[in-house]
């Protein structure tokens, strides 16, 4: 969808950059990127470096950067533009969903998101630049960027070490560092989704990455404190993404 959106706004001096946060690297992303066939830069971020630098804490998140390299909106949820056609392969086609996936879908529909408002804001910025009500001042950008305590910084270092072991094919060495990263960064959901999605379950292929919890009958082998379904139920699916706000309250 970002590819179609890019074509639609290409004459407005805008570029889209997509970044795949994936510790196992490019191959897990290939099917999706080739289906979208983007003309824009489509990058692989094995160490979640962009997340550390810009504050991505869930997926999809985005930042806006102006012509001078100044961030004008810090990281926030970024639903794909709804006016554009979908270009993701439907990996759920032909699958009779097991109960856990049905339960996940049941929670996912409760997640709050306002793709139309987000697309309208993007188009307003493309047209009006710094005069757009959605473009923030440098101080607002810094103040609204993700909090980072000393614990969260340490959590990011732990995650980087986990990613290093994953990148080198040593998944078992990565697990304790994923766990410590989760403990130290309670607000970060992409660190959780990444680790959960790498554990085995009864599904195969790309769809298995969305299970994100213990395999049925192997609950004791699950190496993490939480899982997608339990955590989202506990937090309330409506709190999964913060609400899109034009300006600092």
């Amino acid at each position: 969808m970002w590819q179609a959106f890019r074509e639609d706004v290409a004459d407005q001096g805008v570029e889209i950059v997509t970044v795949a946060l994936e510790t196992t690297g490019a191959e897990a992303c290939r099917q999706f990127i080739e289906a979208a066939n983007p003309a824009h830069p489509s990058l692989i971020d094995q160490y979640h470096k962009s997340a550390e630098l810009f504050g991505f804490v869930n997926i999809p998140n985005a930042v806006w950067i102006d012509e001078d390299g100044m961030i004008v909106r810090p990281s926030e949820p970024a639903p794909a533009p709804p006016s554009m056609k979908a270009d993701r392969p439907n990996i759920f086609a032909d699958l009779v969903p097991p109960q856990r996936l049905l339960d996940i879908m049941g929670e996912a529909v409760k997640i709050r998101s306002n793709p139309a408002a987000y697309e309208a804001a993007l188009r307003d910025w493309f047209t009006n630049g710094s005069q757009s009500q959605f473009a923030m001042t440098p101080d607002e950008v810094v103040n609204r960027s993700q909090p980072r305590s000393a614990d969260e910084a340490r959590g990011q270092a732990n995650f980087e070490l986990a990613a290093h072991f994953e990148a080198n094919g040593d998944h078992d060495a990565a697990i304790p560092y994923y766990r410590e990263a989760h403990r130290l960064t309670p607000e970060n959901f992409s660190y959780r989704r990444q680790a959960w999605s790498l554990e085995p379950n009864e599904l195969d292929g790309p769809v298995a990455r969305f299970w994100q919890g213990p395999a049925v009958g192997a609950e004791d082998a699950w190496p993490y404190e939480g899982d997608w379904l339990s955590d989202v139920k506990a937090m309330g699916a409506e709190n999964y993404y913060p609400e899109f706000k034009a300006e600092q309250a």
Partner: protein, 114 residues
Amino acid sequence: MILDSLDVSQDAFETGTGWEIKPEGACKGDVCIPLPSPPEAGRVDVESIADQMGLPLVGDPERSVWALGPESVGARTLLSAQAPELRLPDLNGNQFTLSSLRGSKVVMVAWSPY
């Protein structure tokens, strides 16, 4: 920043962390952290500088590998609104540099296959 040694060149430290060693300390944009024991002769003692700057250093000594994490001095991810440099490969391994898009508005979107 991933390290296989706790003694690194100043260049490697600066590229890896985004912090530049200057007479006034370690600096990123307008923010400088004073260094009472600055690096000497182009070498950085990572344990010492991490301690002086408040950077987390997480090690797996058994495997001789460490991760030096980011600063928390501003209590926020961004110290300034200037976009940090980002270098990443595409699907085919071609390196891309974010600053190559100066002159365009950029929407950078993070996604994942999970």
